[in-house]
């Protein structure tokens, strides 16, 4: 059996190598992949987290406190990951969103809404061929300017996470199902106790183009998913000072890869956006959600 298994793996590897059809979960804008678009300073947007506790009675409730804690962990994890890859990470947008400015939060919500539409295009397929992964021209329009402006950043990074855990009652039921199925067919499956999916995107602060995106899913914690997804973000090519930047006092801004996340109780819910922007005549104008990256020559 072991011999057959090895043979199959080797054969598949050989086929993949020969045909050049290695698959990846990463998507990149051609300008970013080619190094034409250089990013150094990145503003972190409040992480959007939806976490459900699945129970036998079907009252699959969201867990707001857990969501806040996970959002906070993701944000500090992004800071650390960006820093370790040579970027300067800024938390100004997170801070402003949590200051309770409803109109700013609505703009953020609208931005997320535009991103969700872009994401449909980005993730129409879970995996893409390596050769295709650097051809994604998807954008969210000029609303990115607002948030990049707040932080003085070149780009924004947005994280969406959906996770779950299951009650012991629900796990017992799923294990029983697995045992019964196994007894009948010989096929057993191991139900996951918890898991989730994270999607990260680096968005150009000027054009609104999605420069880089990756997603990671599995029966692991949000931290692990984040680490896995961020590991594919290209390192800033040239040398230079990197740091975490924010208007926060120095004592709270220095978040490193090993630092503890801020206490969950201090973190309000993840918030989100508005494409509308003021114009010369003082009226409010819709943003250009349909302004794709390739509209620019």
């Amino acid at each position: 059996m072991k011999q057959i298994g090895r043979g199959v793996i080797v054969a598949l590897g050989l086929v993949a190598t020969l045909t050049g059809c290695a698959m990846t979960s990463v998507r990149e804008h051609p300008d970013f992949a080619s190094g034409k678009r250089k990013i150094r300073v990145v503003a972190i947007l409040p992480a959007q987290v939806e976490y459900r506790h699945l129970v036998f009675t079907g009252e699959n409730e969201r867990d707001p406190e857990r969501e806040k804690s996970i959002a906070s962990d993701i944000e500090s994890g992004m800071v650390a990951a960006l820093q370790s890859r040579g970027y300067t990470a800024k938390l100004d947008v997170v801070d402003k969103a949590r200051s309770g400015d409803k109109e700013f939060n609505f703009q953020l919500e609208q931005f997320r809404s535009a991103y969700v539409q872009a994401s449909k295009e980005l993730y129409a397929r879970a995996m893409v061929a390596e050769s295709e992964s650097t051809k994604f021209k998807v954008g969210v329009g000029p609303s990115a300017n607002t948030f990049a402006g707040v932080a003085g950043a070149d780009a924004l990074i947005i994280a969406n996470y959906q996770g779950f855990d299951k009650s012991s009652g629900l796990m017992a039921k799923e294990i029983t199902s697995s045992v019964l199925l196994g007894a009948l067919t010989g096929v057993y499956y191991a139900p996951a106790k918890s898991g989730g999916r994270i999607e990260l995107s680096l968005i150009d602060g000027v054009s609104g183009d999605v420069l880089w995106s990756n997603a990671s899913a599995g029966p692991v914690s949000a931290d692990s998913s984040l680490t896995s997804a961020m590991a594919r973000l290209p390192v800033v090519p040239s040398s230079g000072d990197t740091q975490v930047a924010s208007d926060r006092p120095a004592s709270t801004e220095a978040v490193t890869a090993t630092a503890e996340a801020p206490p969950a109780a201090k973190m309000p819910p993840a918030v989100a956006a508005n494409q509308a922007h003021n114009t010369a005549d003082g009226s409010s104008v819709p943003a250009k959600p349909g302004q794709p990256a390739d509209a620019a020559p």
């Binding site: 036998f56 009675t57 079907g58 009252e59 309770g100 409803k102 109109e103 700013f104 939060n105 609505f106 703009q107 953020l108 919500e109 609208q110 809404s113 535009a114 539409q117 449909k120 295009e121 000029p142 300017n145 402006g149 629900l170 039921k173 199902s177 697995s178 019964l180 199925l181 009948l184 067919t185 010989g186 096929v187 000027v206 054009s207 609104g208 309000p268 819910p269 918030v271 989100a272 508005n274 494409q275 509308a276 922007h277 003021n278 114009t279 010369a280 005549d281 009226s283 409010s284 104008v285 819709p286 943003a287 250009k288 959600p289 349909g290 302004q291 794709p292 509209a295 620019a296 020559p297």
Partner: protein
């Protein structure tokens, strides 16, 4: 993997079928509606059970979340107007137990929903379809009735028992989730019976406040106009097979005199005062959500009433230009609205129409400028059309002029970046 002999497999299949029968029996047994009195009953015992307390806590959390995200349209006059229409529709006994609040949700989807704590939400997308106060009152009366009749806790109890029995059934079906099929359809919204009950109770309260039932019932015709994908899943009207049928049931009740039809309030101008505010917000939200065709419909609808509005011509231009700029997004929206599959052929069809979209956009922007020559954003729109067509000189000229006329544009950086691209 083990192999099974045919007799053993046959026996297993028979066992499965027996279990399936038992499971479905269990599922259907779990569907009995709990007997919970309405908020107008003396023995309502509202908010006393743990389940209902839990529901109320969740409703309060949702209220706070929507508010903190800036999702509520808080124009004071509009909020006050909604309260003045909605509050009188609440039965006195219910008002003593629950504080009813009426909110406008900044969402392009057409929907309305009620939380058990008395929060009633009407989306901008739905309000944009209504024509007068009687129609608004019918929607509000319907939602208020869900709270008064305690449909939230009833559904919660029913669904929970359904889920438990479905779990048991599913366990014996080896986790195939077949037993969930009847449950999934029922949990997405209130039951059809509950919706009909709310229709009737809503119309009774609307008629009792002096609104014309005929006008109020017309709301179902408005809803009929809502395009497939625009309606929220599980919304109060999408769960019905036919809104026309629904209206007919109510009209029959009016004909039989079961609902009084002697008054005529409701078709007056009050609601129309807020129509422009709602219409613009609706179009902006739709454009942001890449609902170009629906934004175009909304702008066109507004133009039939206000043909000389430069603003609606401008929005029409924005919708067309967005379709030209983003044919994939337009194709995706089309497939969503009409339930078609999104595929390469559909994308190619929309890509083939880019020039036509740009042409229509150009015409709409020019109409806007003809009505208001100072409308900078229409000039920007024309510049972006030029850019989309590859007419770089014209694009440079128009976009530069747009930037030159005002120093405080929020999209200055974006447009400047486009100009840099052109100059390269």
């Amino acid at each position: 993997m083990r192999q099974h002999s045919p007799p053993r497999l046959a026996a297993a299949i028979v066992s499965c079928l027996r279990l399936l029968s038992l499971s479905l029996l269990a599922v259907s047994a779990g569907c009995a509606t709990p007997d919970i009195p309405s908020l107008t009953s003396a023995d309502a015992h509202f908010g006393q059970s743990e389940e209902e307390k839990n529901l109320l806590v969740r409703a309060d959390e949702l209220d706070r979340e929507l508010d903190s995200k800036g999702m509520l349209l808080e124009t004071p006059a509009l909020v006050s107007y909604l309260q003045s229409v909605g509050q009188p529709l609440v039965p006195k006994e219910a008002a003593q137990r629950v504080r009813f609040r009426f909110h406008v949700l900044r969402s392009p989807v057409s929907n309305a929903f009620a939380l058990p704590n008395g929060s009633i939400y009407l989306t901008v997308g739905l309000l944009a379809h209504l024509d007068n106060e009687a129609e608004l009152a019918q929607v509000m009366g319907h939602e208020i009735s869900h709270v008064v009749l305690r449909h939230g806790i009833k559904s919660y109890e029913t669904n929970r028992s359904r889920i438990i029995t479905a779990h048991i059934a599913d366990m014996f079906l080896f986790g195939t989730s077949l037993a969930y099929l009847p449950y999934v359809a029922s949990v997405a919204s209130f039951s059809r019976e509950q919706e009909e009950e709310a229709d009737v109770a809503g119309l009774r309260s609307v008629a009792a406040r002096g609104y014309s039932p005929d006008e109020a019932i017309r709301v179902f015709e408005r809803i009929q106009e809502v395009k497939g994908g625009e309606a929220a899943e599980g919304s109060w009207y999408s769960s019905h097979p036919s809104n026309a049928q629904r209206a007919e049931v109510l009209r029959e009740m009016v004909r039989k005199g079961e609902i009084p039809a002697t008054r005529s309030r409701g078709a007056g101008p009050a609601y129309r005062e807020y129509a422009a505010l709602i219409a613009e917000e609706n179009i902006r939200l739709k454009l942001n959500a890449r609902q170009y065709e629906l934004a175009l419909d909304a702008a066109t609808r507004s133009l039939t009433e206000h043909p000389d509005s430069a603003l609606y011509h401008f929005y029409k231009g924005e919708a067309y230009r967005s379709m030209g700029d983003d044919p994939k997004g337009a194709a995706r929206e089309h497939s969503w609205i009409y339930g078609k599959s999104y595929n390469d052929a559909l994308v190619a069809e929309f890509e083939g129409r880019r020039n036509a979209f740009y042409q229509s956009a150009e015409k709409a922007y020019q109409q806007a400028l003809a009505l208001d020559s100072h409308m900078l954003v229409a000039q920007r729109g024309l510049g972006l059309v030029n850019l989309g067509r590859g007419e770089y000189d014209a694009a440079r000229e128009r976009l530069s002029a747009y930037l030159a006329q005002n120093k405080t544009l929020s999209d200055r950086e974006y447009i400047t970046n486009l100009l840099k691209g052109i100059n390269k």
